[in-house]
Amino acid sequence: MFPLTEENKHVARLLLNTGTCPRCIFRFCGVDFHAPYKLPYEELLNELWKFLETEKDELILEVTNPPPKKIRLQELEDRIDNLNQNGEGRLSVIEDGSIASKNSNLYVCNVCLGILQEFCEKDFIKKVCQKVEASGFEFTNLVFSVSFPPQLLVREHAAWLLVKQEMGKQSLSLGRNDIVQLKEAYKWITHPLFSEELGVPIDGKSLFEVSVVFAHPETVEDCHFLGAICPDCFKPAKNKQSVFTRMAVMKALNKIKEEDFHKQFPCPPNSPKAVCTVLEIECAHGAVFVAGRYNKYSRSLPQTPWIIDGERKLESSVEELISDHLLTVFKAESFNFSSSGREDVDVRTLGNGRPFAIELVNPHRVHFTSQEIKELQQKINKSSNKIQVRDLQLVTREAIGHMKEGEEEKTKTYSALIWTNKAIQKKDIEFLNDIKDLKIDQKTPLRVLHRRPLAVRTRVIHFMETHYVDAHHFRLYLKTQAGTYIKEFVHGDFGRTKPNIGSLMNMTADILELDVESVDVDWPPALDD
């Protein structure tokens, strides 16, 4: 069913004569259901010509052509030859009188620059889908994002002014909002084609994004007059190459007066020589998150790679030992490792381990069964005795919040091997067992002062338990508030942590070994292994 009615004829004829494609004509006539747009281009063009012919009105293809006559096949051919000679298009007539094109290249629409001509049809979509399939991503749905050159907004505006004027003559009441947006129509047509070709639904919430960017170098300067008239809309932004962004152009078009616009830009827009070019077809998958808990058994392993002046100071790191395997299996581009606090190079993490989460950026593979994750965990654990992981699982981005909450709010327990300068006996350390919820003030330790603000932090040592070793050594178990610097609590950090073990015992104390015994965060959920 052809979607245009009698009252659309004047506008449709005007637009077709000035070089606008059928689908754009539908848009400016307010055709807001999908079906008409999905018909093949040639069919639409034929139907449109038939529709416009029924009143036996003249059909003018090209304004500069000889006076209008009733179109018959031969005349049509002459007209088309004329157009071809002017380089206006690559039209040709086939036997049944319908217009066909070489390589589907008819005249280039002066409004959409080919977007709603060849770029929404099956052949192009197939080309995009081939690229998507070649990219090696695993996906069960996709979101399609498309970017058009900003000068389309200017042409759309010009076409609107033209249509508005024409409708004014007929007192038609189509408002700006009744005009169907270019991108909307484009998606109506292309989404089903994508779904069919790739076999998956389009879902706006999908993590897998296929993005196509169009450009039209020939008309790049179409926007520039706006820069002169509304200079305050166009501020040079740091990351953008051109100051004529879609947003800025929109803003300027909303501001500019009709008369000023008409002075600067042809209404109707002129016909371009070529269609848009495809600047890029890219695929990307949103990040996925893997969480777990890690134990650290080495006293010479940093959390993150330790590199100074391009030279690696210590081999490997906690994050690499865990993430490298994940990077491979998920076929991701890169990772971001974060954990609920961290320990020094020379500190072990025992007990249930420390919660961590890894963001895998642009993963090509995302679907794993829990069995596969278990095997991945075993693989990591077999590959190193410096670290071990448990409770490895896929989590959502929101879940990461639980872990960071743990860093600031949850308690930790430690065990430390302490040296004293004076000789001690069992009874000399017993008093420490009785101290509960000891408040200490810690100035930012000197060893981190170069990268942290200078401040005093009050922290609580909830309880302590001592185990005598010999005249100069004892083990201290302690449970503390999150964010407590344990080493500084033992040796006092030049007296900048008060009180400290040394001051409590009235002697000089130092810490020889430190282990994290537990990180009291109940996330991620424990899995039965």
Binding site: W419, N421, K443, L446, R447, V448, L449, H450, R451, R452, P453, L454, H472, H491, G492, F494, G495, T508, D510, L512
Partner: protein
């Protein structure tokens, strides 16, 4: 004061020896034996302390009081730093005074920064209990903490003496005194 090897009774080096390198400046501002020891952390932070040979640390000296008011308009106690980049800190040159130490025998000693950089903090513990300065000059009795500019972190030690060079100077002094006595 005669330099002696550091005790390793614990089998591991001390806190200072683990994290810091000791640098020295002798006869600061031309005053004989007023030696300073700068503890430079591996992260480039410097702790200004008195060297063992400084008169204040010799037996028999009693400290009456310590003051951080180094001029009418400047008190090191008013130093305030904020943020990761330590804005607002008083900037120190090598000869900038940090504090004045008044002894019961009437002697007055000025302690200088010896390194260029931002003043992080001065030690308020020695204000309340000056004896800490003499009991633990290398740790609890420190004078001040200074953060040199990142670009200057290596060059600040160019004008300073290594532990070895300092010990040689001290030995020379002792020999000179014994020779003349």
């Amino acid at each position: 004061w005669i330099p002696s090897p550091k005790p390793l009774s614990r089998g591991v080096p001390s806190l200072v020896d683990r994290y810091f390198t000791r640098w020295y400046k002798a006869d600061v501002k031309g005053k004989p034996c007023e030696d300073h020891c700068i503890l430079q952390h591996s992260n480039r932070i410097c702790v200004i302390t008195l060297a063992g040979s400084h008169p204040v640390l010799q037996s028999g000296k009693t400290i009456k009081s310590i003051s951080y008011q180094i001029s009418t308009n400047c008190s090191r106690l008013q130093n305030k730093v904020s943020g990761k980049f330590k804005r607002g800190a008083q900037f120190l040159t090598e000869l900038a005074p940090l504090c004045k130490i008044y002894c019961s025998d009437g002697e007055e000693y000025t302690i200088s920064s010896c390194v260029r950089g931002r003043l992080m903090e001065v030690n308020e513990n020695i204000l309340h209990k000056p004896s800490i300065l003499q009991e633990k000059p290398s740790t609890e009795g420190y004078i001040a903490v200074v953060l040199p500019k990142f670009e200057e972190s290596k060059s600040i030690t160019e004008g300073l003496l290594t532990q070895k060079q300092y010990e040689e100077i001290v030995v020379k002094r002792i020999n000179a005194t014994t020779a003349t006595s």
